[in-house]
Amino acid sequence: MRFNFRAALKDAGISALVSIGLFGAMIGLKTDPGPTSLVLTPRPWAVVIAAGIVFFGRLLILFYKAWRPAGAPTPRRLRAASNQIGHYLTPLLLAFVFTLPFYAGRYWLDLGILVLTYTMLGWGLNIVVGLAGLLDLGYVAFYAVGAYSYALIAQTFHLGFWTCLPLAGLFAACWGIMLGFPVLRLRGDYLAIVTMAFGEIIRVVLLNWVSLTNGPNGISGIPRPTLFGLTFTAGGGPGSFADFFGITPNISQRFIFLYYVILGLALLTNWVSLRLRRLPLGRAWEALREDEVACRALGINVTITKLTAFAIGACFGGFAGAFFATRQAFISPESFTFMESSIILAIVVMGGLGSQLGTALAALIMIGGSEMFRDLADYRMLIFGLALVMMMILRPRGLVSGRVPSVSLGKRHKISAELLTEGHG
């Protein structure tokens, strides 16, 4: 295809004009505190730069489109290379996360814990949204239920982390079923709205039931986890990990321990969801996402199938919540806002619905990335938004799209995302 330079220049010029119209007042005028009131400082150069970026950016896109028209297949070399990367990425990532504590400082370890927590939440939500196709905007509710269950049970009955962990998961699963019942008949947008409201109800109850949850002041002094009864205290002392092994007590030991705890929990979530995908229950979830009517005609109990998806997804959310509580040693309703739900959902969607690797990568990019850009303060959200928009243009089905069949007679072929249904709730 011949490249029409004049048409491209005209197109880019129009884009630049539109951008001047848009940015003219937004970027071109800045409010500064004057002696008596705010004064407007004009910044014409900023508008020129913005328009310039749009002009040349548009020109580049047009060049690219002329060079490779839309719909042209990816060159074979590139596809083979990306397949190769995909092949080695999982073991490399696993090796990386297992060895991280050996060379990473405390800051990186802390970030690692955060990323792993969100990865686990993403994997938990992936069961509900990615496999069963039920859009859940209130996943943070289960995270909150897990955190508060652990904090309250541990403080009231003086039980340890490992005893309370299954209980927290169980409570969260019960709440998952409780949410599941009223929303069984709802689909799509309606389901999303009700789940969102459910998340908010849990948060508001936690905020206002002061006698139980201590309201907005939160719960502090939540016990730390132990390794077979060995504590990780800064000062060492009898019964501590450092004392038992005869090494110098160091606060970073606790971080390393916490890191491995969340790594184990996240991998457990991953393992269970990978296993379930190959079992009738997981297949029924995916079938439900593809076509609920056909499921009913085949004798699948849609009610039970949906409820198990909610319950198991919620259970892992509860585990993650209990871990969050024990890591922070302090929880308050502030940590469980709608923003958290939307971040977790963004991770799942960005990773590619139903994809385990994609979810982990998306958590790394979203949580780790937004931490990287902390210095940019408010512009962080701008970059975040830009990344999401780019993502939707370049890879609308998520980072890792398509699905691998759960069973096969011969060789497994990946099923392209175009054939998959995203579910209607």
Partner: protein, 284 residues
Amino acid sequence: MASPLLQVSGLTMRFGGLVAIDALDFEARSGEITAVIGPNGAGKTTVFNCITGFYKPTEGQLTLSPPGGRVLSLERMAGHRIAHYARVARTFQNIRLFAGMTVLENLLVAQHNALMPSVARGLLAVFGLGGYRGLERKAIAQAKFWLDAVELTERADDPAGSLPYGAQRRLEIARAMCTNPVMLCLDEPAAGLNPRESDELATLMRRIRDGGPGQPSCSVLLIEHDMGVVMSISDHIVVLDHGRKISDGTPAEVKADPAVIKAYLGEGDEDETPGGDAPVEDVA
């Protein structure tokens, strides 16, 4: 004469003021192919939806008497229980496959209840308990059997959505058969098929009716517009028009019934309406 498998009596379905089916009586006998035909909008698919529990009939009884002496009232059962306990399977007029899953996976989803007798056992299978491996082996053998029967073994690992139209129709039948039904309800299975595919479909339906090694006999209830298929394979035909039964009998009897001819051709002069061996086939 074979014993009645499904007895429909006084079936009425109203949607608000609209009467889709009006006091319908007919029976489908076991080991037979019963066809339900009629002009568009006669209420055929509504009858199917009532039998398979997608609609709750306004009035009337649907009695299923499967071999073994049980008597089930389908009108009181929920949709998934009809497929699971009463073992009535169905296909859809507009194909409803799990497009993003492979052909084999589609057939395994159909065997969900055999593979997962209870939620607890389904969850135990995560840890390799509950005897899941044996169940899965049996399910795959069953799936292979039906893949062979519908000639889709080659494409077992391809996504169902990528199959050509005729293959999707056959897969939907195979999927319904994987639930081990006593009665199979086919909603226009020949729609969109070419003549050769229609012939193959007729052979498949006869095979399903007659049973064979590794496959018990299964009665077929069929909605079809392709009169060639209907007349050649049906043992018994029920003709509906405007929600009422206008004729009922063997293909030859139905073909000769003036009421049927009237419904299909519209009312006209007696002279213009061909009598005797009325060419109902040509009309459809």
